[in-house]
Structures are given as structure tokens and as C-alpha cells.
């Protein structure tokens, strides 16, 4: 198991290298003075520009800049925002809790919809529930998450007047109330994809020989579906859950913006709109690092679910 983790870690290093390089070199190849871009694309005095050049080491040769920057990153230092006069880490830490709550809730909503719907559709192919599942997957995957959000706001805030449309509330239960609609919007989007995968991998698992064997042993339908088929169908489901992390991040950004939750997504979009490059850069690197972590967790989960992975040789 330890070897599995270590080898996976090694292969993920290049990804980090590529992302950091793109983010680092891109801004330095923009026509014009990189110091001005770092300043947020606004008017600044010459003295300020000098300050920025010093702070972001723009006066040094490119390889040196990159080397020092990566060294900072390795120490967990994401740099400072010139405009907000703040450490990017602090900016992120302020916004992170609500984003994590949103992500976890959305993921829970997605599982609550997709697992039952996918399994039932697979057990009864071509039935009405299968139709529902297919239609849901198609429309859910085609509706932009911000449009789903707006539909929910129209229905639950304006028509029924039961849930708040905007903001993050005043903590505790109030915040939870503000998170319900965003989590449902994003959860529906995520569920559209995982319902489809759950359904197809369950159909695959149910057609295997060991299911026949279980049936011939006289096991109950429910036992076969949940114990024999579902466990084997879990691998593609976990893969998709891992892959969905990318979509989950993008989704939290969009939903955050639509509902004005003031999370990490709102900070990112605000920084992109105002062109605070150091903040955008810091958040992008932070998310990339998270990606690596999640990828690792997913790989370890494979090992837990499927012993064939644990004992070498992937199936």
C-alpha cells in the first residue's frame, strides 16, 4: 500500500511542475510591463512599480525568478497580493470554510440522488425509472449550473418564498439555510454525470458470472444487488467521483458567484475581473495542489475497494 502511494506521488509531481510553469510564465509573456499587470492593471506611481518589481523579483532573470518562486511554494508560501496588501494564504483561509461546506453538501446531494437512481435504473432496464434516470442525466448535464441556480432562486425564493436567495447568512443554522439551494443546484449537476456512470457500471456488474452463481446459491435479490454487484460497480463510481473533483471546484466557483456566498470562488472571480494576478496565481496553485491530494486519495480508495489493485497489477 505504501509503495502504491509513493509511486503515485512521484507521477503527480510533473503535473504540479506543468501547472506552476504555465501560471508563472504566462503573465511574464504578456505584452507590456509585468509589474503593471501584477499591480492589477490600474494606474500606479513609478515608486510603486519599483516596489512591485522588488516584491515579485521581476528585476531578476527569469530562471532565478522561477526558482525562488517554486522554493517559496515548497514552503507553502503563495505570495502576497499587492492590491489587498495581504498574504494570499490568509485571503484563501478566510474564504475556504464556506466553500468546503458547499462542496461537501453538494457531493452528499449528488450521492443521495445518483446512487439510488443509477442502481434502480440498472436493476430494471427500460422501465419508467430507467427513463427518468436517462432523461435526468441528459438534461442535468446540459443545463449550466448557474441557470439551474437561477431556476431554483425563482422557484424557492420568489415564488414560494421559503429560502434566502443571496448571501451567506449569519453563521450556524442560518448559513445552512443559505447553503441549501446552492448545494442542490451543484448536486443536481454532479448527479447527472454520476447517475449515468452508476447505471452503466451496475449493468456491467450485474451481467457477470458471479451474479449467476450468487443467484443459483439462492441469495435474495437485494443481497445480490447491494453486496455482490454494487461493490464491484463502485470502482468506476469512485473514478468518476475523483474526476468530478475538477467539476466540483469549477461548480463551487460558479455557484458561489451566483448566490453571492463570498467563498473561494467569489474571491477568484473577483480577482480575475479586477486582474489581481498574484491572487489568481495563488488560488490556481492552491487548487492544483488540492487536485494532487484528491487524486492520491482516489488511488488509495481503489486499493481499499479492490484487493487486486493492492497486490500489484491493475485490473
Amino acid at each position: 500500500m505504501l509503495r502504491l502511494i509513493l509511486t503515485r506521488l512521484l507521477t503527480l509531481v510533473p503535473m504540479m511542475f506543468i501547472i506552476t510553469s504555465i501560471v508563472f510564465f504566462m503573465v511574464r509573456f504578456v505584452p507590456g510591463d509585468p509589474a503593471r499587470i501584477m499591480a492589477g492593471g490600474q494606474r500606479v506611481t513609478e515608486a510603486n512599480l519599483q516596489n512591485i518589481r522588488k516584491q515579485y523579483r521581476l528585476d531578476k532573470p527569469l530562471p532565478t525568478q522561477y526558482g525562488l518562486w517554486v522554493k517559496d511554494l515548497a514552503h507553502g508560501n503563495l505570495g502576497r497580493s499587492f492590491r489587498q496588501r495581504a498574504d494570499v494564504r490568509v485571503l484563501i483561509a478566510d474564504r475556504l470554510p464556506i466553500t468546503i461546506q458547499l462542496a461537501l453538501l453538494s457531493f452528499a446531494v449528488s450521492l443521495m440522488i445518483s446512487l439510488p437512481l443509477g442502481i434502480l435504473a440498472a436493476v430494471r432496464p427500460n422501465s419508467w425509472i430507467d427513463m427518468v434516470s436517462t432523461t435526468f442525466s441528459l438534461i442535468g448535464a446540459s443545463s449550466p449550473v448557474f441557470f439551474t441556480s437561477i431556476l431554483l432562486i425563482l422557484a424557492f425564493s420568489y415564488k414560494l418564498n421559503v429560502l434566502p436567495a443571496l448571501g451567506r447568512g449569519e453563521g450556524g443554522l442560518d448559513t445552512l439555510k443559505h447553503l441549501i439551494m446552492p448545494a442542490i443546484a451543484l448536486g443536481l449537476s454532479l448527479a447527472a454525470i454520476s447517475t449515468r456512470i452508476t447505471r452503466s457500471s451496475m449493468i456491467e456488474a450485474l451481467s457477470q458470472d458471479y451474479i449467476e452463481t450468487a443467484r443459483s446459491k439462492g441469495l435474495h435479490g437485494r443481497q445480490i444487488v447491494l453486496k455482490h454487484a454494487f461493490r464491484n460497480a463502485l470502482i468506476p463510481v469512485v473514478t468518476v467521483a475523483g474526476l468530478q473533483f475538477g467539476y466540483l471546484v469549477v461548480g463551487t466557483v460558479l455557484v458561489d458567484y451566483t448566490f453571492g456566498l463570498g467563498g473561494l470562488g467569489a474571491l477568484l472571480i473577483d480577482s480575475v475581473q479586477r486582474r489581481y494576478y498574484p491572487v489568481v496565481q495563488g488560488i490556481t496553485i492552491f487548487i492544483a495542489a488540492l487536485f494532487i491530494l484528491i487524486n492520491l486519495i482516489v488511488d488509495v480508495l481503489y486499493g481499499v475497494i479492490d484487493p487486486r489493485v493492492r497486490y500489484g497489477g491493475r485490473s
Binding site: S200, V253, T284
Partner: protein, 296 residues
């Protein structure tokens, strides 16, 4: 020996006119694909004939008609500047769908040659290309295009260029895997044995067999590109007002959601319908052209 080669040759789906009319004939039996195809064709007609279809000038507003509800004169109402929503949606097709088409085209221009080259050459080149692409696939394109916009500034050109490059892995991966299969086919071996130049083998045997997969992936990629461009414009990072676009109309509509919900609803529905159209067409085409992949 001859008897063995012949069925493989048919299976490889050579681009003769008869096999393409076969494809259409089979598509007709697939309701999903036909709905998708109808939506896509209608959208293309709207793109080309926008000036003739639009009832009003999309950029000219009557301030007295601000936020008018749908009526006889404005079928879908008017926006905050008194401009006709229907006409803006019609012109918005050009930026939304035109942008998505450009994204997919850029990704194909880079991805198809890269996939064939990588798969055909094999060895360490293939190894490196595959590894890099796998890493890019794990990272959502939208996030990196945020960084591009922050560096280069918000505009549809920057959005299309960055998404075009970030979409390369999707197409390359598919073309590469088709190339790997075709490379081992008996007729490719035969062409090699007869001493045909590499370019002839690639253009006569490998490339034609990639076409059907490229079409399937393109249709699904167009759906993704539509969503990504709409998202960027919605966030104010893509198409800039006053140029009409579904994404920025949706965000304008959100500001007046309580008083004039028809704005956001009509723009959002346009995105939904267009994306659904390409998804349906892509799914249907995959059922017909690529049955092996469709089963997965």
C-alpha cells in the same frame, strides 16, 4: 487470406459515399440523434441568417420600453436598455456557438495531427505526450482560462484561444487510440510491406479511420465548449457587453430577476437547448458510428 482481409476492411468504415449515407440512414432510426441534429441545424441557420430573422436591431433600444414583458411587438420582451431580447438572443447565437465552433476547431487542428503522430511513432514520444495530456485532462479547462483572462484581459478572443488549447487532450486521446488500433491492422501492415511512404499510409489508412471518432468527440466537445464559454461570459470574462451573448444576457437578467424573469429564463433556456442538442447528437452519433465505445 483474402477472405480474412475483406471483412476487416469493411469494418474499418472507409469514407465511401455509400457508408456515409448508411450512417445517415441509421441515424434516422435514432430519435435522440434526430432531435439533436434538428436543433443543431436550426442553430446553424440562425447563425447564418441572423440579420434576416431578427425582428429588431439587437443593439438599438427604446428607453421607454425598458424591461417590457413579452408582447406582440417584443415576443420575448425587452431588456434594461429597451432592446429586443429575441433579436439579441438570435445574434447571441453567433458569439456563443461561433465561439464554441472556433474552440473545437482549434483543438482539432492541434489535436488530430498530435494524436496520429504520437500513436504512430510510439516509443518515448508517445509516452511523454500521453502523460502530459493525462495531466491536462485532470485539470478543468475553465480554471486555467481564468488565469489566462487575468493575465491577458477579458475578451472572447482570449477565451476562445485558451479553451481551444486546453481542449486539445480530449481529441488527441481519441485519435491516438484509433491510430494505435489502425497501426496494427493487416492492411496497414500490407501497405508498409509494399513500401508505401509513411504519408500515404497516414492519409489513406490511418486518418480516414479517425474521422468518425473525431466527429463524435467534436459534437460532445461543442456541448462542453458552449457551457464553458457561456460560463465565462456569464462571469463577465468572455463576450463583453453591449455585444449580445447568451452568457452575458443571463447575468444581466439575473440582476432584474424579480421584475423581469423572462430575460434570464430565455437566455438560460437557449444555452440549455443548444447544449442538449449537441449532447443528443453526439450520443446518437456514437451509437451509430462507434458502437464499441457506446457500450461503455
Amino acid at each position: 487470406m483474402v477472405a480474412e482481409i475483406a471483412p476487416i476492411h469493411i469494418d474499418s468504415g472507409q469514407d465511401t459515399p455509400s457508408s456515409w449515407s448508411m450512417v445517415f440512414w441509421r441515424l434516422r432510426g435514432n430519435p435522440k440523434a434526430m432531435i439533436g441534429l434538428t436543433v443543431v441545424i436550426m442553430l446553424l441557420i440562425v447563425i447564418v441568417f441572423a440579420p434576416f430573422i431578427a425582428p429588431h436591431n439587437p443593439n438599438h433600444g427604446e428607453l421607454s420600453d425598458t424591461l417590457v414583458s413579452p408582447d406582440r411587438r417584443y415576443l420575448l420582451g425587452a431588456d434594461k436598455n429597451g432592446r429586443d431580447v429575441l433579436s439579441r438572443l438570435i445574434y447571441g447565437t453567433r458569439t456563443a456557438l461561433g465561439g464554441a465552433l472556433a474552440v473545437v476547431l482549434i483543438s482539432e487542428l492541434i489535436g488530430v495531427p498530435l494524436g496520429i503522430w504520437s500513436g504512430y511513432r510510439g516509443g518515448w514520444i508517445d509516452e511523454v505526450v500521453t502523460r502530459v495530456l493525462d495531466m491536462m485532462l485532470a485539470f478543468p479547462p475553465l480554471l486555467l482560462s481564468f488565469a489566462v483572462v487575468a493575465a491577458f484581459g477579458p475578451s472572447i478572443r482570449n477565451v476562445v484561444l485558451s479553451l481551444g488549447i486546453l481542449y486539445v487532450p480530449f481529441i488527441t486521446r481519441v485519435v491516438r487510440s484509433v491510430t494505435l488500433v489502425q497501426k496494427e491492422m493487416v492492411y496497414t501492415e500490407a501497405a508498409k510491406a509494399m513500401g508505401y511512404p509513411q504519408s500515404r499510409i497516414i492519409f489513406r489508412h490511418i486518418f480516414p479511420n479517425c474521422v468518425s471518432s473525431v466527429i463524435v468527440v467534436s459534437s460532445l466537445d461543442l456541448a462542453y465548449a458552449l457551457l464553458d464559454i457561456a460560463a465565462l461570459s456569464y462571469l463577465g470574462l468572455g463576450v463583453q457587453p453591449p455585444t449580445p451573448d447568451w452568457g452575458n444576457m443571463l447575468s444581466e437578467g439575473q440582476l432584474v430577476l424579480l421584475t423581469a424573469p423572462h430575460l434570464a429564463l430565455s437566455a438560460g433556456l437557449m444555452i440549455l437547448i443548444a447544449v442538449l442538442g449537441f449532447n443528443l447528437l453526439g450520443d446518437g452519433l456514437r451509437d451509430v458510428l462507434d458502437p464499441r465505445q457506446a457500450k461503455q
